[in-house]
Amino acid sequence: MREVAIIGVKNTNFGEMWEKSLRDIFVEAGVGALKDAGVAGEDIGSMYVGNMSSGQFVDQEHVGALIADYSGLARNLHVPATRVEAACASGGLALRQGILAVASGYEDIVVAAGVEKMTDISASSASTALAAAADREWEGIMGATFPGLYAMIAKMHMDKYGTTSEQLAEVAVKNHFNGSMNPIAQYKNKISVDAVLRSIMVADPLHIFDCSPISDGASALVLAPADIAHEYTDTPIYIKATAQASDTIALHDRRDITTLDATVFAAKKAYQMAKLTPKDIDLVEVHDCFTIAEICAIEDLGFAKKGQGGKVTQEGETAIGGRIPVNTSGGLKACGHPVGATGIKQAVEVTLQLRGEAGKRQVDGAEIGMTHNVGGSGATAVIHILSRNR
């Protein structure tokens, strides 16, 4: 098995981009990543594209080929392009598939990307499309929404561990603060705990400011065998671990409603693979589709004891400059959550941090970073550990 490195990255702006189409934003991300890597179309062995639901969002399937075509890689070069789907973890899985392709020796230069164009339909239709990531026949049919499922996790976390609405709000406040320093973020406005608590209730105890938004956006990165990465860049970022795990599709079938066992299991595998512990990680991008999701994530990844995620957030340990900076990009909450792109965006953010190119939100001396991407209410989790040292 070969070691793999990231040699180029690009995020488009995230947000409501009425003037741009799915193919517009994808091409922007893809071209940007190739340019960053100094790679030409002729060099590309294959592409993996994370995309949850272009069929529901823009009535377009077969987006692997569409993207290869509009990136100029189909008609003459015939580059194989594969769409990867695992709901909101589609991007993380696309990255993993790309890594496996390079590590196996089948491909050398591989593009791993993600894209979602969510604002061409109404917010209500978009929510319905997203709800397909849960169990349609046994959750959706009862009127379950995604905020509703995570609200049930939050309710139980509060009951079991004494987590408060203020602690949930602190996650959103921190992520908006980080987002204010990220040029691509959908929301660059800072918010207060009070503003979160005064915002409308979506599913008790989650307010609208506890929820990530509906977004358009694309992200892409270029992978290469570590042995030749220096031919393309002075700052390759090395993949130290890729791990993925599954759990029950329905929240009600989980062993513990407040623990994402898929996260726990994937994290254990990732730490083993990288021969690292949570203490070695300098920053992490976690899947904060809702504020409670960040609290569960930092617990399940080993950055806080179970039940203490809210407390450590309130005490500032997850802020930039804190013990373990979480979601320096602004996370899904403030940077935005174009579902298929999110897993790739996380890896782009960590790459920028490890290269020392994260601008005002730079974590000083960051050497090792982690990404954590979740599908549905926790049926899929995928984790990557990245390092600036081989």
């Binding site: 319905t128 026949e137 009862m142 509703g148 008790d204 009600h252 409603i257």
Partner: protein
């Protein structure tokens, strides 16, 4: 949801019929074709649940899923049945009545409808016991 898709599990939804594995003695709802514990060695049989259960967790939904807009606010919960498995259901109750650990029992109710002229879906919801 299409009529055929709903109809396929109609009997289970109406009567709270899931499955029991006589190999590991575990109960499942919704019904399963393969025992998640024993896999191919499992021996599954239909099982009608008693219906008693308790609230594991719940939420009050204010922003509804498509087709549920007229019901807001509504209570959604995870109910743990006395035989062991948990399911997701609406609770026909006021939000003030709700608490974790509270006992519930099943009732036959309308779940929703396909469209203005579509099929009406019925199934099991729960009420405070």
């Amino acid at each position: 949801m299409s009529v055929s898709r709903f109809w396929r599990k109609q009997v289970n939804r109406y009567n709270l019929i899931g499955t029991h594995c006589s190999e590991c003695d575990e109960y499942y709802y919704p019904p399963r074709n393969m025992c998640p514990t024993c896999r191919r060695d499992g021996k599954l049989e239909p099982y009608k649940f008693g219906g008693g259960g308790e609230i594991v967790t719940y939420t009050i939904i204010h922003t509804a899923a498509e087709g549920f807009e007229h019901q807001t606010p509504y209570v959604l919960a995870i109910v743990k049945l006395d035989e062991g498995p948990s399911l997701t259901s609406q609770i026909v109750a006021k939000s003030e009545e709700m608490s974790i650990g509270m006992r519930v029992k099943p009732v036959f109710r309308k779940l929703g409808e396909g469209s203005d002229r579509g099929m009406i879906y019925y199934g099991t919801k729960f009420i405070p016991a």
